[in-house]
Point group: C2
Chain length 298, copies 2
Amino acid sequence: MGRIIECIPNFSEGRDKAKVESIVEVLRKAEGVKLLDYSSDADHNRTVVTAVGNPEALQAAIINMAEKVYEVIDMSTHEGGHPRMGALDVVPFVPIEGVTMEECVEIANNVGKVIGERFNIPVYLYEKAASASHRENLASVRKGQYEGFFTKIKEANWKPDYGPSEVNVKGGCIAIAAREPLVAFNVNLGTDKVEIADAIAKTVRHLGGGLRFVKAMGVKLEDRNIAQVSMNLVNYEKTAVYRAFEMVKMEAKRYGVPVVGSEVIGLVPMAALVRSAEYYLQIENFSMDQILEKRISE
Amino acid sequence: MGRIIECIPNFSEGRDKAKVESIVEVLRKAEGVKLLDYSSDADHNRTVVTAVGNPEALQAAIINMAEKVYEVIDMSTHEGGHPRMGALDVVPFVPIEGVTMEECVEIANNVGKVIGERFNIPVYLYEKAASASHRENLASVRKGQYEGFFTKIKEANWKPDYGPSEVNVKGGCIAIAAREPLVAFNVNLGTDKVEIADAIAKTVRHLGGGLRFVKAMGVKLEDRNIAQVSMNLVNYEKTAVYRAFEMVKMEAKRYGVPVVGSEVIGLVPMAALVRSAEYYLQIENFSMDQILEKRISE
């Protein structure tokens, strides 16, 4: 497959189809870049895009896409249910094949520098690209949102990594990251009590003393009348899918609640599932190079 | 990935490196074909090659390879520990991506016709390409081997599908197939008693009343001093890896023997392992299109 990175830009428009299309079109047309998916949410007034490509082509395409975003989106009139700090809100770069995390950190810096200087946007780097530990977590970076940044940006702790020290009124600010691939994995419980899902979520997640790379919350699936432990596995190499799954099962036992199923949302790296097959099948000395499709695409 | 088939030709030379290389070289140099693996066994005096490619390119390359095989190998002086019926012994075609089994049957027929006519070799089609049910099993087709075919070929039941009705003294005969991908999967037992592995193998395999697409036998791993149930899963879509694994575990219980591990030998289609992860993680409504690498390579 050569050298491949993934980028999942989120921008603050999810209602005006013509505007959304004009932005997505930049990635669709870019040479060396493949648009894998995009979905808009009208309540959130936000669109999430997934694209892959070689590092050089994808960086260039994201900068071209940013230009379009700053042309058509005006944050001074933006409303939506999802937290956001700018027109182009977050841009995480993820190493997929033949690229290291260090290179993705470099890419986040390159793109941040250009967006800061060319479009006059304050840039914050987060996750693996963060310039300080208090900036690693996106929720901390974005706290206060677009409206709050007009004062937050003046705090010593929140000087931007690139770009001006004043919020761009039309474009807002931007958060750019290098991070591991994320697996959205939900476990369905044989109960309608969301408080049980919530209690389990609190024990399996990092915040509650659980697994290092698990974020989790309890949600109710109204249509099926069951509760669900909804998780983000933010490093499936170190906190494997099967480990999160087995831990939910184990905790569910205390309530006499069975696990009735699970869901993988969106795209998932092959290794995340293959590693779980290895665990359950007790496979010794397996190498990902034994996967036929991997060998074919090399 | 486009349209991809796999071919695993086996030829009757495993000692003379120069000869082996001259044959393999044909596939290595072929446009639109990728040589994934080859290994020679001196005791067997035989080489097994794995190559993939688009159907047109791979067919052409296999015919060119056959020409080289018939030039350098002489069956009238061949000796080796593995059953064989010809210089180019078996040529199975396997659908991998965007190609149906029916198309592979057609390819097996096309290649068989050319090899029969151009090189004057009796051709037998087996597995999904078989022209009669008694020819489906390779062991039945190959029974008697090169030496036995001089009389076997005269039997009404064993008239070749293509080519002459007399054995080619130098090149022998050939068996060509279309078949499902095969998964070589072994389960290691916490005992040194090979008779327990043997007894388990007999219950899980099709022959003994077990799973439809499992071939199995017990073997001893001398270096680790443990017994192993060695299996070929000849249709992993219908007889899943996890099902064979769980059945071995279940049967091992009757002897109080634990399963201590397993091995996947050689290449394995991604889906074979992903389907097992789906089972153990109880994933609902999963689609292989959710695999990131699959989407990238499309």
